[in-house]
């Protein structure tokens, strides 16, 4: 069992994200729809994860804590998925290959289990990044 593995990350829309986004990005629905990661069973096993376990995902430009879930839409081993949204964008590299488009799909990340840490809310992540987070109000 590995402490951490390197995976190829993609981030795309999910319908749960779509519905929750229209409801509001500060809602529990949005939080549950987007602060998750899907991986292939082999990779889940390799990390010794149990369902719903939190992991830290680290890319060249940041890290984020998300929950491991088993998605309906299967991936092949080595590929990982976080739905488009605030959590994914903590790790999406802003490099664009001079096209304007960030590297939303196909960037290396390491995934490792975390203990004693919580997932952060969308507001804490975004406001925190720009020094405007004032704690839970």
């Amino acid at each position: 069992m590995a402490n951490r593995i390197t995976l190829n990350m993609i981030t795309q829309r999910s319908i749960e994200e779509g519905v929750a986004m229209e409801k509001g990005k500060t809602t529990p629905e949005y939080f549950e729809a987007c602060s998750i990661i899907e991986m292939h069973d082999d990779d889940v096993k390799a990390l010794g994860l149990v369902p719903n376990q939190l992991v830290r995902v680290t890319s060249e430009c940041g890290n984020v804590v998300v929950k491991t879930v088993k998605g309906r839409q299967s991936l092949y081993p080595g590929l990982a998925f976080i739905p488009q949204g605030v959590w994914a964008n903590q790790v999406v590299p802003p490099r664009t290959q001079a096209t304007g488009e960030p590297q939303y799909s196909g960037f290396p990340v390491t995934v490792e289990p975390v203990n004693g840490e919580k997932r952060k809310s969308a507001l804490e992540l975004v406001q925190g990044a720009v020094g405007m987070w004032r704690g839970d109000q």
Binding site: N8, I10, T11, Q12, R13, S14, I15, G18, V19, M21, E22, K23, G24, K25, T26, C61, G62, R72, Q73, S74, L75, Y76, L79, F81, Q84, G85, V86, N89, Q90, V92, P93, P94, T96, Q97, A98, T99, G100, E101, P102, Q103, Y104, S105, G106, A122, L123, L125, V126, Q127, A129, V130, M132, R134
Partner: protein, 456 residues
Amino acid sequence: MPKKVENVGCPYCGVCCDDLVVTVSDDGKQILEVENACAIGNQIFHHATGSERIRLPRLRQPDGTYKDISYEEAVDYAAKVLYNAKKPLIYGFGSTNCEGMAAAAKVAEKAGAVLDNCASICHGSSFLAIFDNGYPSCTLGETKNRADVIVYWGANPAHAHPRHMSRYSIFPRGFFTGKGHMSRKIIVIDPRHTDTAQVADIYLQVKQGHDYELFDAFRAVVRGHEIPDVVAGIKREQIVEVANILKKARFGTIFYGMGLCHSDGRNHNVDIAISLTRDLNDYTKWTIMAMRGHYNITGPGAVWSWQYGYPYCLDLTKKDIAHMNPGETSSIDLAMRDEVDAFINIGTDAGAHFPIDAVKHLRKHPWITIDPNINMASEISDLHIPVGIVGVEVPGIVYRMDNVPIQYRKVIDPPEGVISDEELFERIYRRLSELEADEAVKEHAKAAPEGVRAGE
């Protein structure tokens, strides 16, 4: 008596369903029921009247809180930010009407701003490919009436465009496709076995980031050449089988999505898809279409093209000529290169949808959000200006993913006092004109005695 409004357009995705029936309460203030919409569209209408809305612009205070201000003050603030910046960026427009986009362009031209829309992080790759290779396409009704082979490549309509398959591609019975699903072959190509792949006759699990190689293999096979045993994770036999289906189709459409636009090579993945479509037209009829995301994200590309000849990433800072080069004049690159010194986020949520590094760069400077709702961008802004929700409270023209204009209706009034994007930008334009006139007077007085600046 509650009133039913029919033929309502849905302000969610590029499918632009225009068959919604919305039931509005007696007093015209509550949306009671929405028929025909998908789960997401439903949510938009119900959210409009079912939650607390922002009714006044809010200005950030030194203590970090927001304070309500008047529209007049907000317009003045926005105009001054635009006026004083050396290179302001106005970005968004995923969720507004074309009238608002035209008004915003007038502002950007007057202010000398960069004008960009969400395509910049979405189907901008498609524009780059269209610039280089064209776009053999059709309207969605053509696909419905004629297509017997459908390809979804790097697109997942089951999640992103929920009614796409039932309205236009897989399930509907059209003029020459009376058997609906039975008369069509569905091919899905994606690294994930998506919910869309569930309805495919053939699913190819392409190795992520290697779509270009797979397209190249298809093209080589279509021209009768040999290819390696395995390309991008797909066996040669399967590639040959699919290539034959493509060639033998009566009418085919390739729908592609972010899987091509967001991965390595970006525009080139789309570009070679266009090349394949061109090739196939030597044998039969093939078309290709970008699965544009928001209901009117095709709109700014249309409006700004007729106004300036460029669909996005317009650098209007010279005020007398427009320049476009994504990679330079694109929002993310401008942010990461620290090239802009003011940011207006309109009808989108850059706070949530930009990589966080880009958000950090932009937040070094004034940030204004124009949006009906609270979102991540509004919560880190200096100023948040609420506007009416297009398609619910504000009518107007929107462009569907196939560039067909759809006339959207108004279902209910916006909250009292809340104005439209178009009116807001018209007011900012007038304020900018006033500021410019003031400056012209000052400059005139100043310039006369100083003479030429040679040798400075």
